[in-house]
Symmetry: C2
Subunit: 254 residues, 2 copies
DNA sequence: TAGCTTTATGTATTCCTTACATATTCACTA
DNA sequence: TAGTGAATATGTAAGGAATACATAAAGCTA
């Protein structure tokens, strides 16, 4: 079978070129249709979904490797990318089960050690700029609603859960919206984003007041038409003020 | 030379028994004499100091390995231990320089790869319960004032800096004092701890008010005598309330 | 033009944060 | 034993932030 052969070659290349026993898993968050989304890959010839991931070249910084993997998957070069946890349990998942699900060839001749430690990164991307791209290991790459993920391969459900928890904590420190929204957005959109991440409803009057008080967004004259209702104003982040406030640590949000 | 022989054997054992290319570095914080301290080791027959660290057995969880390493260094079994960052730069330090400083034997026959990724943990310990213990690689193990660290081996100054930054952020989320102070402590002691970690002075009236408002400490009838001044009351953490508040996320501190 | 949907917005209350100064206690010593 | 010095304990007023809450306006559709 052609694909199996390819896999074998890939494994050989990884063993030769990459740091052994270490991997990277990326949780790529996007926001669309008032929902927080995660980018998942479907493995070739299966119905099994998992996170995009990869390996680290022998002389490559782990951060750079994560960036490279993300770029391959999303086509985006500049994005918010952050290491959030390293998963080092001795048994992270049932290897036999995975091997079977993915029809992996016999890997007993590999140099790869018995267990893999994985470094988790999460990325926040502007949904509208992403072109989800499957690779030669996978048939499909698409966004999934974070609340409705299927059962994932490896320990990837756990990894997503930890990433989400980290994102929630970070939200109270920095306006994550900057990275998840397109350049122009409406106040209700921003509010939905916060509501989705925090998983609770917010009062629109208080929310608007608070976000505007932070002093990092500005209202444009433009409005977005299109619905059978009052047109919302468009806003955008003021990058300078945003970064200044970040440095001064004035961005707590509760 | 006996020590070199020992080192060689140690390296061989590590290669055989441990996950290759991965290490753990621990930043152990203690509080004493109104200062935040870090536990450092002096390598045998040198004046070079570094963080306690070690390697992960092939079938050992990384968290467990960190715990094991800490226990060896401090004698404490139960402590607050948290992974805070994985250091994966491709060039973390000048290997030749280190090898020379520590008079390492020729390591070219080792299986160990060219670069090591290190997982950083920090621990908060009750200074009074620790028995700093050097191992066979080191001559001395002692506390250093966090503000007055010498130039450390490897990238350990950087690792301490990242740990400290993490600790500062965490302080606004949970009362770190619980892990760093002895069972009974005075309000001024608690205040010094916060001042040290936050690196700024706090108002004693407001501090006392705020800490007591959190509802997780209780004042004892006891006072601590001994100085030529009014005796301070002793307090202790109420573990149940502390954990309840942690779960409810009511412990922000700014 | 009536109706439906979503947006935009202000005020009163409570809570939290900050700023700030003095009286008390203990040990030491003269 | 009275006086001194050092650190502790404590309350109040003012300003700012968070919360709770309801209605009018705008755009589209029928």
């Amino acid at each position: 079978m052609n694909y199996k052969k390819q896999l074998e070659e890939y494994f050989n290349e990884v063993d030769a070129r990459c740091v052994l026993g270490l991997s990277i898993d990326c949780v790529i968050f996007g926001f669309y249709d008032n929902q927080l989304k995660v980018l998942l890959l479907r493995w070739k010839q299966t119905e099994e979904w998992g996170l995009p991931g990869g390996f680290i070249y022998k002389n490559e910084s782990v951060d750079v490797a994560a960036q490279r993997i993300l770029e391959e998957r999303t086509g985006i070069k500049e994005l918010f990318l952050q290491q959030f946890h390293t998963f080092g349990e001795d048994v992270r998942y049932n290897r036999q089960e995975i091997s079977q699900k993915l029809s992996w060839p016999d890997t007993s001749s590999r140099q790869w050690p018995d267990r893999t430690v994985s470094i988790g990164y999460f990325a926040l991307v502007d949904f509208s700029k992403v072109a989800p791209t499957a690779d030669f290991l996978t048939d499909e790459c698409r966004w999934w609603d974070v609340e409705k993920l299927p059962s994932l391969l490896f320990d990837h459900n756990h990894i997503v859960a930890v990433a989400l928890r980290t994102l929630r904590v970070q939200l109270s420190w920095q306006p994550v919206g900057y990275n998840l929204l397109p350049e122009k957005f409406t106040m209700p959109e921003l509010q939905r984003l916060y509501e989705t991440i925090l998983n609770r409803p917010l009062d629109p009057r208080n929310f608007s007041k608070k976000m505007r008080a932070l002093g990092i967004i500005e209202r444009l004259e433009e409005q977005r038409k299109g619905g059978a209702f009052k047109s919302p104003y468009l806003f955008r982040f003021n990058k300078e003020k945003y970064e200044k406030a970040l440095q001064e640590g004035n961005l707590a949000f509760s």
